[in-house]
């Protein structure tokens, strides 16, 4: 976190620069089944973020050394498009993307019933087309909807959501300025039905009380986003009856 104290992030009326309340998230839209070539897909917009996820598989795991005899492996690639940020990103290897891909894969492996598909691989491709802070969370949400769309069995969905701290105040869903100049960021992946947490990262400075409040905000937002996810999946198949 930048943690620069000289940038004003809260207005005198107590609202945030973009007019949001402290516990208000940016508008979220979700569409399922957006990519014809994929087995399952979803697009999530959150504020100005645009995240797209594609799922392929289950398919035979190659190379053989990554195969697990007792379960499927989930192969996640989180990638930011070169034009997704204010300064162009050079395509190619990137430590940040690798780390996010790894922990996202592990989070998804915690909800997907991987033991149903021994020796196989499920590919999850997360592409960030526009980034305005919070892309890993939008990516997780998109991945969960895409997995459900692909018909992959899961014990719950996962909702990606983040809270943080600006000017010593806990706020939900940091935007770009808040992320750059704020004091903490707490992105999580929440299982909306069980209330468990499958993804957790944090950086900055939070007191235990602030952590609890940030988590409370995250759970509240996760419930809201979950409704939008369910709605997106239902809309994709509206008019359908078995």
């Amino acid at each position: 976190m930048g943690g620069y104290g000289d940038v004003q992030l809260l207005r005198d009326d107590g609202l945030r620069l973009d007019g949001r309340k402290l516990d208000e998230m940016r508008p979220v839209t979700i569409e399922a089944g957006v990519l014809p070539a994929a087995d399952g897909s979803a697009m999530v917009t959150q504020g100005l973020n645009v995240a797209v996820a594609a799922v392929y598989g289950p398919m035979e795991a190659h190379p053989r050394k990554i195969q697990r005899q007792d379960r499927a492996v989930i192969d996640v690639r989180y990638n930011m498009a070169p034009f997704s940020t204010s300064d162009r990103i050079r395509p190619g290897f990137n430590r940040r993307s690798r780390e996010i891909s790894k922990v996202t894969a592990e989070a998804l492996e915690s909800v997907v019933l991987v033991e149903r598909f021994p020796r196989s691989k499920i590919r999850v491709e997360i592409e960030i087309l526009a980034a305005e802070a919070g892309t890993r969370c939008a990516g997780i949400t998109a991945a969960a909807v895409a997995l459900a769309d692909a018909g992959i069995p899961m014990r719950d969905l996962i909702v990606g959501v983040a809270s943080g701290k600006v000017e010593d105040i806990v706020v939900l869903d940091l935007d770009k300025a808040e992320d750059n100049y704020g004091q903490a960021d707490l992105p999580v992946g929440i299982l909306p039905n069980t209330g468990e947490i499958a993804f957790l990262q944090m950086d900055g400075d939070l007191s235990p009380d602030e952590y609890n409040l940030a988590m409370e905000y995250n759970f509240k937002a996760a419930a809201e986003i979950h409704e939008i996810m369910v709605d997106a999946l239902k809309r994709r198949y509206e008019g359908g009856e078995s």
């Binding site: 087995d39 399952g40 598989g57 289950p58 398919m59 035979e60 005899q69 909800v111 019933l113 598909f117 021994p118 020796r119 196989s120 459900a148 769309d149 692909a150 018909g151 069995p153 899961m154 014990r155 719950d156 969905l157 299982l191 909306p192 039905n193 069980t194 996810m229 369910v230 999946l233 239902k234 198949y237 008019g239 359908g240 009856e241 078995s242």
Partner: protein, 231 residues
């Protein structure tokens, strides 16, 4: 989403959603029991039959079961066996002993090469998803003509219809030979007009097979065929 006739509710559920109490009912596919509650594990429609609660998935990968009739494509040939693409996570293996011909060791390639399409049956699937195919059986053969189409696995029942009624309508309207593989591959062979019509029908199943408007759309398409003047 409408209420069925016997009070059975047509409910679309998403993974993690509670379907109802698990007490006294059996848990079928697409669901699991957790803390006295039945939870959906798939996106799909809730089904309650014979005290068993399951979820009919809207989308699904092909998972081979022994006995399945499938349309497969040769992906690799060895001296004494063929590896087949069966449209599932794993390739199927056809040993020369289960081919419909007497094959000499090293001569597998003379009977079938890469890209050839066959009608086969799943002989055996083990716990590690090793799939063995057979072509010994009535009607199992290499398909030398016609075309292969893809339909979503969960639409196969719809494509067949109750007691194969829909399949019969497809055959009548197109005047084509049609074989539906359990692996979502449909083989169609007939004259050019019939195949063009059948192609449209399969495309309709692909795009609208899950919708309640399907029957009406299919009937409209049926009227466009030239095969039966009064259909």
């Amino acid at each position: 989403m409408s209420n069925g006739q016997n009070g059975a509710e047509q409910r679309l559920v998403t993974p993690g959603m509670a379907i109802g109490p698990s007490d006294g009912v059996r848990v079928g596919s697409g669901a699991l029991a957790h803390n006295d509650t039945i939870i959906a594990t798939r996106l799909g429609w809730v089904r309650e039959i014979n005290n068993t609660v399951s979820v009919d998935p809207i989308n699904s990968a092909y998972m081979p079961r022994s006995g399945d009739l499938i349309v497969a494509t040769v992906a690799e040939v060895r001296n004494n066996l063929w590896f087949m693409n069966i449209n599932g996570p794993f390739q199927g293996l056809l040993p020369m002993s289960l081919a419909p011909w007497k094959v000499e060791f090293g001569a597998a390639r003379q009977h079938m090469g890469i890209g050839d399409v066959v009608l086969a049956r799943v002989q055996e699937v083990d716990e590690c998803h090793n799939v063995v195919l057979t072509m010994k059986g009535v009607g199992l053969r290499r398909l030398n003509q016609g075309s292969v189409h893809s339909v979503p696995i969960n639409h196969i029942d719809r494509l067949r219809g109750e007691g194969n009624a829909m399949l019969q309508r497809l055959r009548d309207a197109s005047d084509c030979r049609i074989i539906i593989g359990e692996n979502g591959k449909v083989w169609i062979d007939g004259d050019a007009d019939g195949m063009a019509w059948a192609r449209k029908a399969v495309a309709l199943v692909q795009s609208s097979g899950h919708k309640s408007t399907f029957e009406a759309e299919f009937s409209a398409l049926e009227k466009t065929t030239q095969k039966k003047g009064d259909a």
